[in-house]
Amino acid sequence: MFPAKFAYAAPSTLQEAVGLLEDPDAKVLAGGHSLLPLMKLRLAQPKLLVDIGRIPGLAYVRREDGVLAVGALATYRDLQQSQDVEQAVPVLAEAAHEVGDPQVRAKGTFVGSLAHADPSGDLPAVALALGGVVRALGPNGEREIDLDGFFVDMLTTQLQEREIIREVRLNVPPAGAGSAYVKFDQPASHYALTGICAVISLGGGTISSARVGVTGVGPKAYRPTAVEQALVGKAPEEEAVKAAVQSVADGIDVQGDIHAGTEYRAHLARVLTRRAVLQAAQRARG
């Protein structure tokens, strides 16, 4: 399979890349592991590919104060191998390990996963549960976009046509918090039928704060804020958590397909949210 014809440019700075995006039929290429399969199927036919893969200094993952900064070219493999991730945000490595397979993880990028906004992508759920900002460069300079609200709809984010994400800054969970990513995958593609990330803090024997990110259920990754609120003050125990997470798919346009119908997917969301919260709480206890 070959993509349709396109022109190719490999700029050496992000500014230059933004300039090239004035062509409305241009697309940004980083790891290419979402875009190139779409192009091979001719589902995407950009006229110009702007390859940011040769721009130096974008493949970093590093801790800066209370934030984990991930550059545009950092791969899933980079996340898995990062000491900073292991120490500060281990759930990010846990989730990265769930993406595709080793070869895919060596090329696909974390930032690309957020920009692509696949409704079954793993990392959007983790990014939402952690919270943080996206730093995007456009023709009018750089702006910060809060991760809350970044995902707009299926394959759609708040990024404007000529914007490129330079880095994503994820909040490092507070000391003592526990986190977990739990996924039920489609066994051939490894995409999430449902994936849940939970970040839990405990205080006085109950849950003092909870953040949850959900992927694979609706048209976009989301935070079930009613569940987060219901969890606060509850004992981190099976029955209490089970009751608190029942609304995780309420009000969501649950997607069904040949692998999992809507009812089953909503059921998976409730079961996996309970498991993710309990596992995160277990880790919070140490």
Binding site: A7, D51, P102, Q103, V104, K107, A188
Partner: protein, 186 residues
Amino acid sequence: MAQTQTRESGVHTVAVTVNGKQYSREVEPRQLLVYFIREQLGLTGTHVGCDTSQCGACTILLDGTAVKACTILAVQADGADIKTIEGYAEVGGKLHPIQQAFWEEHGLQCGFCTPGMVIAIDQLLRDNPNPTEAEVRRGLDGNLCRCTGYQNIVKSALSAGRKLRGEEPFEKPDLALSEPASAGAH
């Protein structure tokens, strides 16, 4: 590094080192790396299986890391150092320890997936020199064998690990396959 700055949809020059040898070829931007390697460089040990980044038959080392060459453009690899299956056995035919393990453990049936398997196992053993069987199975997640010969592929990976760690001789003593007879024969 080559002239990838041009915007016309015509040809780009891609210069790569493959198995220690330098090559330079003209490509269309849409040329995929696996076809560049097979058809323009004539190195057909790298296979095209599913062509959808699932089966791993096209696995190569790109700047030292195992990747799937069906989902990378040749222009993206400009300037890269590539290793394909042709770069594993020594000149003169001595097999790489992973290949030797496949030979001894019957790690291949039709052989179509084998180049990708060998390279995926190379990456796996460099990341984790002493993997458990479960880690080998998980580590070969990106490679499919349509003969379903996974048991012996896993055995081969574990044997290759032992060979590379020096816990097993390069050649199994009871498998002196190239020798006409063992010590007891006349």
